[in-house]
Symmetry: none
Subunit: 263 residues, 2 copies
């Protein structure tokens, strides 16, 4: 089976993914219909950011290409046919919107995740994202970008993959689409940061994650603060999800934290 060129690819999730990089164990991996890894095109002229993104996305088990300008992006889109595009709206050679327009002509059904500066005109972006695209404002956290991209790919892919937006650890359930969280059936309200932290933990159940890893992943790349915000937010999370019940968030002194089903 081959992926037909211009029409949308369909993806499937595979728990027994044989794909290379250490995507979080046991989490189903997004694949193209032919079993090859999903292709994501990263377009950003800041090479350090592009590197960071490529690194993180590649680690998800995806096939990544990076381009630094609109012309290159279009060329790559034409020849390589990515399944999703990560597009910085500020490019040196042409307006992000122009790039988008041409991309659309080339890849009508491929979802786009925009990277935009915080103060950018949000209404215009909002209009752009009407068609199933999405956007993330700089500075972002890797967790956020990865999650959005996964969401886009999931929604663009086969319906069969749709049910996979939930993470479950014991009686703790997290829905990545609705951002809802339940413990033992009871809904729990989390702030944005708490949610991302919990998602990261839940995507790596039974694995010790160091405070640095957490900081790198959950906080935005330009965060310059104290490492003990992690402790603080772990503390917040515990109050909300571990109160009374058998605790699921555990401290490994000198190593980090991990989440696992209580008992």
């Amino acid at each position: 089976m081959t992926v037909t060129s211009s029409s949308s690819a369909s993806f499937r999730t595979s728990a027994s993914a044989s794909s290379s990089r250490g995507a979080p164990a046991k989490q189903p991996e997004l694949l193209r219909a032919d079993g090859s890894p999903v292709r994501v095109l990263v377009v950003d002229d800041e090479s350090s950011l592009a590197d960071l993104l490529s690194l993180a996305l590649r680690y998800e088990g995806w096939d990544i290409r990076a381009e630094g300008d609109g012309a290159g992006a279009l060329r790559c889109a034409r020849s390589w046919r990515p399944d999703a595009v990560l597009l910085d709206v500020m490019l040196p050679d042409m307006n992000g919107l122009t790039v988008l327009g041409r991309l659309r002509r080339e890849l009508p059904d491929v979802p786009v995740l925009f990277l935009t500066a915080k103060d950018a005109v949000e209404d215009r972006i909002a209009g752009l994202t009407a068609g199933g695209d999405d956007y993330v404002t700089k500075p972002f956290s890797l967790e956020e970008v990865v999650a959005r991209l996964r969401g886009l790919l999931r929604r663009a892919g086969a319906a069969a993959a749709r049910s996979e937006s939930r993470l479950t650890v014991g009686d703790l359930v997290l829905d990545e689409d609705s951002h809802e969280v339940w413990r033992d059936g009871q809904e729990i309200h989390l702030t944005a940061t708490e949610f991302e932290l919990l998602r990261y933990l839940m995507r790596n159940p039974r694995r010790v994650l160091s405070k640095t890893q957490i900081l790198d992943r959950v906080w935005s790349y330009d965060f310059g603060g104290q490492a003990n915000v992690v402790e603080l937010y772990i503390s917040y999370l515990r109050r909300k999800i571990d109160v009374g019940r058998a605790p699921m968030i555990h401290t490994r002194r000198g190593a980090g934290y991990l989440i696992k089903p209580g008992e």
Copy 2:
């Protein structure tokens, strides 16, 4: 089974490793897909450290090359294509991050283990661990470096190698991902040092390890204390894992300690 993304090698574990070097007996060895030993590039300008590391890693049965600067590292990466890189972030000729960036361009899927000074953690570089990479702060213990490197190689390698995060000796089980330890199914809490000591013992079952060896391996290289900390920690371990049951940790008077299944 081949790894899909661009150029990464795939590893397999082999219990019947015929490799010559004195890798720990009976523990499956990480090998490349073609059966040759895993290649690790060590980049550090402090030659004493580089020597120490090279020695220890070679002892794991790996193929090691050392470079003292970024330029050499890049040259070696290009020609020798290592499976992992051990990179000091403080290099004489160029910033560690610059080296990283270029390395990444050369070897997009090869994991990197960073060596960083303790106090440099504060002004951490965002994304240092973003792509599945890891880091170790100086002064480190060899046990720690080896363990992390193994972890990286494991996660970067084939899925088949993924389940190998557990060490087993008799009814004693140690999980390197979750840092959990069980004896006869019952969970045992260990401190960080106890955990490393036990891991070292369990990676060398039925082999006598001298106190000096243990000190060199489990304690950081600048440890200046008394040698009897080893006795002390052996004592701690016994209290936790050998209490009541048939003892697994044995003293060889005048020689050292060894672990083996009870009875």
